[in-house]
């Protein structure tokens, strides 16, 4: 039973085709070889279909015929042991064709090999980490109740929902605006500074400053170690506040120039918001205490004081940092282009209305539409009248209690403490101390622990099989029909191969308690359901 049907028809040409080689013979037939993004395929001359198709993940290795041989061939060996041979038959280009195909395959196969191994690794890891799963595997697969494929097919579909929540590695992470501040240099006591770099911070630096990432790729590990790289980074003028281009030749001086270029292009691009006019943003002064007292200088750089120069350098650095952080976050997503006019209207609306000042509109609710609401005030009424054998005593007691309840007046000083009351209620509730059938302790003493734990394994295995059985209903597709038939036979196999031997074993140990009765009940419930479904199906067919 397969969960995914693999389509090998030409429809899969929607996959990207990487290489086409004509005049390639397979099994003495002329045809064309196609190398695609995930698979290799071959189709005979003149036909539309592929007769041979292999996923790269299924290919174990490739072999080529030795140089000098007349026939120029390439052989693919699959994991299953099967092999397919292609004969390159174009007189002039056969060798070149074959070598081109071989090289491409050499590049592609390792990529997919990792995937296949990864799955196996994942499976092994799951079995090692979860002893219950391992036991289940032993009980079901090793004893041949179900096949390994079925076992994993069922398991993996269970985990996919959990995976998205628990797999931390797959989460994309934003860049904290303060990531440089998080580095928090500490003095190490000998006139030096310690910078604490975590993987997160390194990733943030790379994403925000792609030029630094480039430098890292170019220099590490050929020219310097990682530690040296980062030491130089923090020493460079690029990193420090007084980032004025001194022209010093360190590997980061280019980064500063790149940043300048980037910043200039951002400024020329401008802002798409029609309500924002960047050029009119200036420090304005109204009066003493409101704004700066100095007259705003012209943009002529020679007039600027030294202080203003370093101020503007810091401001430029902040702006650049913020712009890069935002851009790095948005780089992976497409920019949604809304029409300029709609954007303008929305902005205008936002500027003139402030939602907080509006009244609470109150939630729209849907009214309840019950036909007979008094049905909810009491429980279901039995269809048949019950006959009780009553004695006059019982009738009298009931009417006395009813009378007491009617004339009850609270005497708050003479009530039970709440803890006494709740422990009395707990003891009288299902599962409570006063509600145990006799012999609770004795079963656990009668049945030895190893028998109990074996029984638990049987329960787990049966539960797994039954879960798959019941999940087939309601049966709406032929696939489910097949599956339910298969699961029913799996249940029967389980009963014969695992349950019966266990029953015989405990009988030999003279344990008289019926330990497998409940499991048999559960299996019988499943068989009954299957029977009912089959009968209905047959009735529909006739």
């Amino acid at each position: 039973v397969h969960f995914v049907a693999v389509d090998t028809a030409m429809a899969s040409l929607s996959e990207e085709v990487l290489l086409v080689v004509k005049r390639v013979r397979q099994r003495k037939q002329d045809g064309t070889l196609y190398l695609m993004a995930e698979r290799l395929a071959w189709g005979p001359e003149g036909k539309d279909r592929f007769t041979v198709s292999h996923l790269y993940a299924d290919i174990r290795c490739q072999k080529i015929s030795p140089d000098g041989k007349a026939k120029i061939q390439l052989q693919l060996v699959l994991h299953t042991g099967e092999s397919t041979t292609f004969h390159f038959a174009n007189e002039s280009t056969a060798l070149k064709d074959r070598d081109v195909a071989k090289e491409l395959l050499q590049q592609l196969l390792p990529k997919f090999k990792k995937k296949a191994n990864k799955e196996l690794e994942e499976k092994n890891r799951m079995l090692q980490e979860d002893p219950v799963l391992f036991q289940l595997y032993k009980d079901l697969v090793v004893s041949q109740v179900i096949s390994a494929e079925e076992f994993w097919a069922n398991r993996l579909s269970l985990n996919s929902v959990e995976h998205s929540l628990s797999n931390n590695n797959k989460q994309e992470v934003g860049i904290s605006a303060a990531f440089l501040a998080d580095i928090r240099p500490q003095t190490d006591g000998c006139n030096g500074l310690r910078y604490n770099l975590t993987t997160d911070i390194i990733e943030s630096i790379f994403r925000t400053y792609p030029t630094v990432k480039q430098k890292y790729a170019e220099n590490v590990p050929h020219n310097m170690t990682e530690k040296e790289f980062w030491t130089r980074f923090f020493q460079s003028h690029y990193f420090h506040r007084d980032r004025i281009n001194t022209g010093l030749q360190d590997i980061f001086s280019e980064c500063a120039k790149e940043d300048e270029k980037g910043l200039k292009s951002m400024v020329t691009q401008g802002v798409k918001n029609p309500m924002v006019d960047l050029l009119s943003l200036e420090d304005k002064t109204l009066d003493e205490g409101y704004g700066t007292a100095t007259v705003p200088t012209t943009s002529n750089s020679s007039n600027k004081s030294l202080r203003e120069n370093s101020n503007s350098a810091i401001i430029k650095r902040f702006n650049h940092h913020s712009a890069m952080v935002l851009a790095a976050g948005l780089r992976k997503r497409h920019q949604i282009l809304t029409s300029l006019f709609v954007a303008f209207q929305v902005k205008l609306q936002e500027a003139i209305e402030y939602d907080d000042l509006q009244g609470d509109s109150g939630r729209k609710t849907i009214s309840l539409n019950l036909k007979k609401s008094d049905r909810y005030s009491h429980g279901p009424i039995p269809l048949q009248s019950q006959h009780y054998s009553t004695s006059q005593d019982i009738i009298n007691s009931i009417s006395i209690i009813q009378h007491e309840m009617r004339s009850y007046k609270p005497r708050l000083t003479q009530v039970m403490s709440s803890s006494a009351a709740s422990s009395a209620i707990t003891a009288l509730s299902p599962g409570g101390v006063l509600m145990q059938g006799g012999g609770q302790q004795t079963i656990n003493q009668l049945v030895p622990t190893d028998v109990q734990s074996e029984l638990k394994h049987l329960y787990t295995a049966a539960g797994e099989l039954l879960r798959h059985f019941w999940s087939c209903f309601p049966i709406s597709t032929p696939f489910l029909e097949e599956k339910v038939v298969k699961m029913k036979s799996n249940l029967e196999k389980f009963q014969v191969m695992k349950l019966r031997p266990f029953q015989e074993k405990i009988q030999r140990q003279y344990l008289s308690t019926n330990l497998t009765g409940h499991l048999e009940e559960m299996l019988q419930a499943a068989y009954n359901k299957f029977q009912a479904w089959q009968t209905r199906r047959m009735m529909r067919k006739t």
């Binding site: 929540l165 931390n168 994309e172 992470v173 976050g329 729209k364 609401s373 079963i443 638990k456 879960r467």
Partner: protein, 388 residues
């Protein structure tokens, strides 16, 4: 006479201009007026919970707890995280008490990532255990609203309709545009509410407004508790949900004894993983469809997926659908009758007294709130003889 319509308008209009109401007392403190506002809001809720409204009773709620550095702040004692987790334990218990057929899942967010603390489940035990353990966890980094909302919105298996975020930080570090995620949440009809621990944050305002949830910022620990408890009540159903029949099983509790002829000891399907107690038991609840056994209800059958409940579980949620009628409010001056509250026997000293329209008994303000919030039935009516 002119004052009355003004007063009524303010009370019913939901405080459109709240700053007008705030008045400083002699020492310049706003505390008294703030408390008064809170109390009035509480009373208003009693009246609002009226008119038979369709509710979403089989709730699937995810709670996202901020575990960032800001949770180490000690303005809540001993620190925000411990206080929050303690209140969450109380919330989980109340939630399952009022919504027996619902489920909760808990997620934490710190260091720009989201982590699942507990899966969506209908049994409070696992959640309580996880919350107790989480007190020892470290608070580090910035939270990520995007990542935590995203990991709830992604899996499409269950019908997650509500998210509650307890948000303490003033920033969130997101890998992508959160406004796009808000659109996705809207499309999935998920309602997000936020309880802020520091101050109002614009992105939370927009998030809750767009998805139809509520946003409040706490004043102190008792206000925090109150705001949390607001989410225990089932919310009104959204317009798009249709009526559907839901299959449920109502197993009877079976007690057996070893002396019975066909005594069949069995394991509960939920006790197979644990190595210790409880072991084989004789009684329990057997699923009517597949005969799997469980020791507690409500539970979702692990084998056949049927929801197993007991009738009292459903009945316990009925008071949400059929709330107790509001009592008639009369100013104390106009009231002529017994000077003592029917239930607490205390002297009636408040501004108003409340009369049950059915049994004509009188109650004080506190008892009236207790009767409507917790008891859901009038003690006076319980005493009078009712013909069924």
């Amino acid at each position: 006479m002119d004052e009355e319509p003004e007063r009524a308008k303010r009370w019913e209009g939901g405080y459109e201009r709240t700053w007008e109401v705030l008045k400083e007392d002699e020492s310049g403190s706003l505390k008294a007026t703030v408390e008064d506002i809170l109390f009035q809001a509480k009373r208003k809720r009693v009246f609002e919970g009226h008119g038979q409204v369709r509710l979403g009773m089989m709730r699937h709620l995810f709670v996202i707890i901020d575990s960032s550095r800001s949770m180490e702040d000690q303005d809540l004692k001993p620190n925000r995280l411990t206080s929050t987790l303690k209140l969450m334990e109380f919330f989980v218990e109340e939630y399952f008490d009022q919504n027996p057929i619902s489920q909760i899942g808990i997620i934490t967010t710190k260091n720009k990532r989201a982590e699942k603390l507990t899966d969506l489940a209908g049994n409070p035990k696992k959640h309580l255990a996880a919350l107790k353990k989480a007190v020892d966890s470290t608070c580090v980094g910035e939270p990520s609203l995007y990542n935590s909302l995203n990991c709830v919105a992604l899996p499409s298996g269950t019908d997650i309709k509500e998210i509650l975020v307890i948000f303490s930080s003033l920033t969130t570090c997101d890998p992508a545009n959160i406004y796009e995620l808000i659109k996705t949440l809207n499309a999935l009809k998920i309602r997000v509410s936020v309880i802020g621990l520091s101050a109002e944050v614009r992105v939370c305002t927009i998030l809750t407004r767009e998805t139809g949830g509520s946003y409040n910022v706490i004043l102190d620990e008792s206000h925090f508790k109150e705001l949390l408890m607001l989410h225990v009540k089932p919310p009104p159903a959204s317009s798009s949900s249709e009526c559907s029949l839901i299959r449920m099983g109502f197993p009877q509790h079976v007690i057996a004894s070893m002396s019975d002829q066909d005594a069949k000891p069995s394991f509960s399907m939920l006790h197979l993983d644990s190595t210790g107690e409880p072991g084989l038991t004789l009684g329990g609840y057997y699923c009517p469809q597949c005969r799997a056994k469980y020791t507690e209800l409500p539970v979702e059958c692990k084998v056949c997926g049927l929801t197993l409940v007991s009738a009292p579980h459903l009945a316990r949620s009925f008071h949400h659908l059929f709330p107790l009628e509001a009592f008639q409010e009369t100013p104390l001056e106009e009231y002529e009758g017994e000077r003592f509250c029917e239930t607490c026997q205390g002297e009636l000293k408040d501004k108003c007294v409340f009369t049950c329209l059915a049994c004509k008994k009188v109650f004080c303000v506190e008892c009236d709130l207790f009767i409507h919030d917790t008891l859901h039935c009038c003690p006076g009516c319980m005493q009078t003889d009712r013909t069924s």
